[in-house]
């Protein structure tokens, strides 16, 4: 029975709980058991709310038994990335500087999960302040890939991706500034959606690159991503960058998910897959075949400015980060160095001792790019190139319904492999960054395994606020790939 429960996706489990075939207590206990068994090895969770989760599960079961109306995620265990604020447990962002931070408020997405009667089972590991593509930059140790413990889970939402893959939860929230939902989803063999900028409230998400950050779901099916976005999306008066209903009307993303799309056009960017490994290129080829087989037209696109997206992104993201992270000064909250003798040393030493190497590197880059004499050549120029990239992507999306691309040039790499060369690590974000720069939605879908038994994902991008259609296009591929999110080989649940 346990095994059968853990094979379900959120939607199936929610239905089973509502119809009392399975209790939330059973499902929650099954996840806690998986956490107990594997978290030590995988390092997916930083905090587990064992007692609270069990209490909430019993409460949901009781309400269902009493015939009360419950929310769409009633009784379903969901994990939350540790840069999303909760009033319960710490919110560390994977950083020593926030190791003991207790948020005075819940993020809006957390409030919405709770309103939907989800069970928040724990907070997941991440690269410090979401800066990284491996989850090795966490101050609390790396997350290991459930498919091969010697490899990275990807990042920065590596804990969320690994937890979903290893059946420690049924779905999770991550954040995506330059690929931090989609790349770990691909590395761990789960589905990951970065919504359009402005679709999901960022209130309570600890800021990294404010013009790029967006919260989104990681799950074991496309329909779960639709369900989770249904719950967390929508206008929030507490976030002035969340768009009002006049721009994005409330829509049930599940309602038309399985409806076919007539005259579907899939775009391929000329030359874009050249830098990707063979298994990735083959996966793209198979995805093209799937779409062609159902009658879609495949169009070739040119987006010449795409080649400049990594440089543009790292200037803008680090500039925004250097400003956002100025708040960690050891004064109002967070770590304060006991060695500080005066006020300036409270700033400089608390930051020196509390922040990790990658965060310092990005603060340095951003401070440089914004400093007098360099601002025009780096930051201002990057903002113009961002506009150019966006214009070209919008033009390309005018010729097709969705752009098909790799998620990353490789499958999951070995732990420690990228540590010595930060630039090489940045360059691996080449396929995920464009969606953030353009503010558009993009989804990573697992389509199979490579020769080494590691998950391979592909990515679909769509126009701003087209999530309904994008999820339908992704659903076609999910069905066609004949590969549902499996339990990683080697793990028994």
């Amino acid at each position: 029975m346990l095994d059968a429960i853990l094979q379900m996706d959120c939607l199936a489990l929610a239905e089973a709980i509502r119809t009392r075939q399975v209790s939330s207590l059973e499902a929650t206990s099954a996840c806690l058991e998986a956490i107990d068994k594997y978290n030590q090895k995988i390092g997916a969770f930083l905090t587990v709310f064992q007692q609270q989760a069990l209490d909430q599960a019993r409460d949901v079961d009781r309400r269902i038994q009493a015939g009360d109306k419950v929310g769409p995620l009633a009784g379903v265990p969901i994990a939350v990335k540790d840069n999303i604020c909760t009033t319960f447990g710490p919110t560390t962002c994977g950083s020593k500087i926030l190791a003991n931070f207790r948020s005075p408020c819940n993020a809006t997405v957390v409030e919405r999960l709770m309103r939907a009667d989800a069970i928040i089972i724990g907070k997941t590991n991440m690269d410090e302040f979401a800066m990284g593509s491996t989850t090795e930059n966490s101050a609390f140790g790396p997350t290991h890939n459930p498919w091969d413990l010697g490899r990275v889970a990807g990042g920065s939402s590596g804990g969320s991706a690994a937890a979903v893959a290893a059946r420690m939860c049924f779905g999770a929230l991550g954040s995506d500034t330059g690929g931090s939902i989609r790349q770990p989803a691909a590395f761990c063999g789960v589905v990951g959606l970065k919504p359009t900028y402005g679709r999901v409230s960022r209130f309570g998400l600890v800021a990294y690159g404010s013009s790029l950050d967006q919260i989104g779901p990681l799950a074991r099916s496309v329909r779960d991503c639709a369900l989770l976005l249904n719950v967390i999306g929508g206008h929030d008066p507490k976030d002035s960058t969340s768009v009002p209903p006049e721009i994005v009307p409330d829509e049930d993303l599940l309602a038309r998910l399985d409806q076919p799309i007539d005259g579907l056009r899939i775009g391929l960017v000329k030359g874009a897959t050249e830098g990707a490994d063979l298994p990735i290129r083959q996966a793209i080829g198979r995805a093209v075949d799937t779409y062609r087989a159902m009658g879609a037209e495949v169009v070739e696109l040119e987006i010449p400015a795409l080649d400049y997206s990594v440089a543009t992104y790292y200037i803008i993201a680090t500039a925004e980060a250097s400003s956002n992270l100025a708040r960690y000064d050891g004064v109002h909250y967070g770590y304060r160095s006991p060695a500080a003798r005066d006020c300036m040393e409270v700033y400089t030493r608390s930051r020196a001792e509390g922040l990790g190497k990658e965060v310092k590197r990005r603060i340095m880059l951003g401070t440089y790019a914004l400093s007098s004499g360099y601002y025009d050549a780096y930051y201002l120029k990057a903002l113009k190139v961002r506009n150019l990239i966006r214009q070209q992507i919008f033009a390309a999306l005018g010729q097709c319904d969705s752009i098909l691309m790799p998620v990353a040039p490789t499958t999951a790499f070995s732990l420690g492999q990228m540590a010595a060369d930060p630039l090489k690590m940045y360059l691996a974000d080449v396929y995920t960054i464009p969606a953030n720069l353009a503010g558009i939605p993009a989804i990573s879908i697992p389509v199979g395994l490579d020769g080494a038994g590691l998950p391979v994902g592909v990515q679909l991008l769509g126009p701003a606020f087209s999530e309904g259609r994008l999820l339908r296009i992704a659903r076609i591929l999910e069905k066609g790939a004949h590969w549902t999110c499996q339990v990683p080989a080697g793990l028994t649940v």
């Binding site: 400049y308 340095m364 630039l423």
Partner: protein, 102 residues
């Protein structure tokens, strides 16, 4: 191309960012930042004549609301994470040297 950043400039940027760096970090960052900044320079190859800088991708501009009083953090909540406090105040070491204050 001359090195885009040297140790002295790394130290200056660190001081602007209020970061204390060890000698080892200064050395390591100088090399790494040099390589990264050199890579960043490729954007200068692109002609952006007549293209406006894009600060954000939203289809909305400033949103205003009525100036109504809403509940905020009470002092207890605001101070609960304070590294050091004195009653309802955040406490820091002296900012001015002794004798220079009021």
């Amino acid at each position: 191309m001359d090195n885009l950043i040297d140790k002295a400039l790394v130290r200056k940027v660190a001081s602007l960012a209020r970061l204390e760096l060890s000698e080892q970090e200064v050395k390591e960052f100088t090399g790494q930042l040099c390589a990264i900044l050199e890579y960043f320079h490729k954007i200068n190859l692109l002609d952006t004549e007549g293209i406006e800088p894009l600060a954000h991708c939203l289809p909305i501009t400033n949103r205003l609301r009525e100036d109504q009083i809403q509940p905020g953090l009470d002092p207890g909540q605001a101070l609960k994470n304070a590294p050091d406090r004195d009653g309802d105040l955040f406490k820091v070491p002296p900012i001015l040297e002794e004798g220079l204050g009021p």
